[in-house]
Each structure stands twice: as C-alpha cells, then as structure tokens.
C-alpha cells in the first residue's frame, strides 16, 4: 500500500510543482511515470499495476451492499405481507419509508453516530433504510396485482390463507419484487460510496483520498458502476430462474 495524502489533495495542490491538483507526496513517488505526474486522462499502466489497491475496498463495498439490501429486503417484504393482510397499514408505512428515503445518506450517517457509533453498522442501518421504500412499494403492488382467477383457483383447491400467500400470491409477485430489488440494489451500490464517512470503508475511500487524480476517479467510480451493473444482471438472472413459467410464454 502506497502512503497517500490523507487530507483532501486539493489543499496541497498549490504547494508542489507536479500536475495541478495532485498531492506532492503522490507525485514524488511516481515521478518516473510521466502520465501520473501529468495527471493524464487515464494512466492504463498505473491502473494495471495498482489494481490490487482497489480489491479490498471493492470487496468491502460489495459486502456492505449485500448486507444492506438483504436486511432491507427482509424488513420490506415482511412489512408488505403484513400490510397485505391489514390494508390500513399501507398509507402510514408508505409515508414512513418515504421519509426515510428522503433524508440524504450523509445526514443519516451522522444522525446515527451518537446512537450507533462509528462503523459498518451505522452504514448498514442507513443504507438498508433507503431500500425499504422501493421494495415495500413494489411488493405491495405485486401482491395486489395477483389475478383474482389465480386466487379463486387456489381457494377451489382448498388452500388456506397462508398457503395462498406462499404458493400463489408471493410467486406471482416475484417479478415486481425483483424489479424493486434491482432498483434498490443499483442505488445502494451508488450511495455506498459515501459509507466511508460513517467509517465503513468501501470504494468511496480510495475515490475520496485521491479525488483529483483522474485515473483514480475513473477507476474507483468505474468499479462502482461495474458493480452496480453486475448485481443488476445477477438479479435479472435470479428472476429468470425463479419464474420459469414466464419463459414459457410465446414472445
């Protein structure tokens, strides 16, 4: 690991003779690589040599996203099932999850600090709170859109309310639930770049440390976007796997 300026590089920019915006300590170590010294658009050789620096933050970022979306998804689906049973819960829960979604993540992290402290927990609580709204709304809509004929058929087969829920309504709502899950996951990957402010690490950490080094910004930002695309494709694949009946339909 190369020692990097820990402060915002902008602050040191004026004090050195290397490319504008780069911290002096940084240029000193890379004076042999002209692309880095110039702060070129994208220094491919530097990127290849230093890719391993991003492995740890990338893995942590993915972990934060998976845990946050997992927790958020479990809570949101539980709330949706509950409000499918008790319809009067829908407006207050929609309002509540909407309020959580409105609060900017950075404010959320620092509001939680006096309560949950500095670290991954705080980041996970805030990020999972963000996923609630979209997953809850989609699950409620998915359950409400189940065709009445399917329910009638289930009842005709002698299913209880619980069997109807798990064997008819939930499977038919899966496409809408996963649609919500995809949106939630992609946004969580993006918002998790701020998780390092709460002490949770992730790709925001390297991104912010060398915020004026172009190669770093492209690499760290690019990795975050690639992760979002990757998770999105995985969920799409999951949807195809768990809803085989949709593939059988003629196009």
């Amino acid at each position: 690991m190369i020692a990097l300026a820990t402060k915002l590089p902008l602050a040191d920019a004026a004090a050195n003779s290397c490319a504008p915006g780069l911290p002096a300590s940084f240029c000193h170590q890379h004076s042999t690589t002209s692309c880095v010294a110039r702060n070129g658009f994208f220094c491919a050789s530097w990127a290849v040599d230093n890719l391993d620096r991003y492995a740890g933050p990338f893995a942590k970022h993915a972990l934060i996203v998976v845990i946050s979306v997992g927790v958020g998804c479990a809570i949101a689906i539980a709330l949706a099932v509950l409000s499918h049973r008790f319809r009067w819960l829908v407006p207050p829960l929609t309002g509540f999850t909407g309020v959580l979604y409105t609060v900017p993540s950075i404010a959320f992290f620092f509001l939680l600090l006096p309560i949950t402290g500095f670290g991954t927990d705080t980041a996970v609580i805030a990020l999972s709170a963000y996923t609630l709204q979209i997953i809850y709304r989609n699950t409620v809509a998915g359950l409400a859109n189940v065709p009445p004929e399917a329910l009638d058929a289930g009842r005709g087969m002698g299913m209880t309310a619980r069997q109807l829920l798990w064997k008819v309504e939930m499977p038919l709502a899966v496409p809408e639930i996963i649609a919500g899950l995809r949106i939630a996951t992609v946004s969580t990957v993006a918002i998790a770049t701020l998780a390092f402010f709460a002490g949770a690490g992730g790709l925001g950490d390297p991104l912010y440390k060398d915020i004026s080094f172009k190669t770093n910004v492209i690499l760290a930002g690019g990795l975050a976007i690639l992760m979002a695309i990757g998770f999105d494709l995985l969920l799409l694949l999951l949807q195809r796997l768990v809803t085989p009946w949709r593939r059988a339909r003629p196009a």
Binding site: G21, V103, A107, I191
Partner: protein, 252 residues
C-alpha cells in the same frame, strides 16, 4: 474522517448521552461559540447556520429549475412523438448507478470546482428522473383521451398542452421529487468542492466540533423533508380533478 472519542467508544450509549448530543447540536444552531481550532473564530449561531442552509437551498433550487427546464420539453417532445424510448428510459435507469461522490470527484479531477460547475453537476443527477418520468407519463396517457381531443379538432401542440400534460402531471411530479432528493443530497457533499452548504458543518468536525456535525445532519434532514413535503403539495395541487376522482374510485 475522525470521529470524536465519545462516538468511537461504543454501541448504544445510554439515552442520556444521546439526548446530550442532540441538545449540543441545537445549542450550536442557536448560539455562536468559539471554533474548535480556536484563534477567536466564531462558529455556529442562527445567522451563520442559516446562511449555509440558504446557500444549499438556492443551489438546489437553481439546479432543479434548470434540470426541469431542459428535461420537461425534451420528455414532452419524445413522449408525444413516441420516439427515443431507449434514450429516455435507459438514461433514467443508468443514472441511478452514478455515485454522488463520483460526480463530485469527476468535477474535481476533470472539470474544476466552483458554483457554476457544481450546478451543472447537480443537473446530471436532476435531468434523468424528470426526463424518464415525463416520457413514461406522456406514453401512458389514455389514447382514447388523445383521440377524442384530435376528433375535437385539436392540433399537436394543443393536445400536448391541454390533454397530455395535465394528465401526465402527477407522474412528472414524481420524477421532479426524485430529482430534488438527488440534488439536495449531492448539494450537501458539494461542500467538499468549496460550495459552502450545510455539508460544511457535517464534514467539518475539526472546526465545528461534534455539535456542529450533528447540527448539520439535523438541518440537512429537515431541509430535505421540507423540499419533499413542498413538492408533494404541489403534486396534489396540479393533479387534475378527473384523475383524483378516478383514483379514489379505484381505491374504494
């Protein structure tokens, strides 16, 4: 980012200390005090904090206004002609993957800092949801209503202004609300690139202390909620009466 010792020390501190933190934050908002760095610099107090909040509000409003002015006509034209679905919808989906911090970092590394650049960067996050929602809303307008308007002798521009736009208004406003949430959130971290918004308090513990950080977080949350409530009120106001009746009927 260094947290105070009090914050690092443990999970679930007693309620009293949590209340104390919040009391400190409100004290910071209301009364001036010496900055942590010393040197007789005064921080906090209503006017200083109010100034930061005001900057954040108007930078956000400016970015939202310009985004709206660009995205609404574009969405209306594309939606009315039924063209560019890939662009309009794809853009909205792709924009969700863009990290807020990435946008700020892109500014620092490639474009340069300053108020004008920050406003442009905020528009990157504001335009996609408005464009996508406008496009989708126009496409979802009941074709029967459009045909009826055409049968009454309305022309293209009249149909857009008097039929499609009013019927699409609620969905368009949903896009505006999403854009506003994105913009206010990103305007917070715009303090990283020298625009003095409330984020300056949140990310400036060295100067403002823990009380200042918490005060900033509380105010950002309140500001975002106010913007959201204001825009939902606008959304209710501009929803045509016919649509409201239809909705309450379908709910009953």
């Amino acid at each position: 980012m260094a947290a105070s010792e009090a914050c690092v020390s443990g999970h679930l501190l007693p309620l009293a200390s949590v209340l104390d933190s919040f009391r400190g934050a409100f004290d910071f908002m209301l009364h001036q005090r010496d900055s942590v760095t010393g040197g007789g610099v005064q921080v906090g107090g209503l006017s200083a904090v109010g100034h930061l909040a005001w900057t954040q509000l108007w930078v956000s409003a400016l970015a939202l206004g310009v985004s709206f002015a660009i995205a609404l006509p574009a969405g209306l034209i594309l939606g009315h002609r039924g063209k560019g679905e890939f662009l309009a919808v794809g853009l909205g989906n792709a924009a969700r993957a863009i990290p807020e911090l990435g946008v700020i970092a892109f500014l620092v590394a490639f474009v340069g800092v300053g108020l004008r650049n920050v406003t442009i960067a905020l528009m990157i996050l504001g335009i996609p949801p408005i464009l996508t929602n406008t496009f989708v809303a126009i496409r979802q307008v009941d074709r029967g209503a459009v045909d009826a308007a055409r049968g009454m002798g309305m022309r293209g521009a009249q149909i857009v202004a008097r039929v499609e736009l009013p019927l699409a208004a609620p969905t368009i406003m949903t896009g505006v609300r999403t854009a506003a949430i994105n913009i206010v959130a990103t305007a917070t971290i715009a303090s990283l690139v020298g625009v003095a918004t409330l984020g300056k308090l949140i990310l400036g513990q060295d100067t403002y202390g823990v009380d200042g950080v918490l005060a900033g977080a509380i105010l950002v949350a309140l500001l975002a909620l106010m913007v959201e409530l204001g825009l939902s009120a606008v959304q209710r106001l501009i929803t045509p009466r016919g649509l409201r009746l239809q909705r309450s009927a379908s709910r009953a």
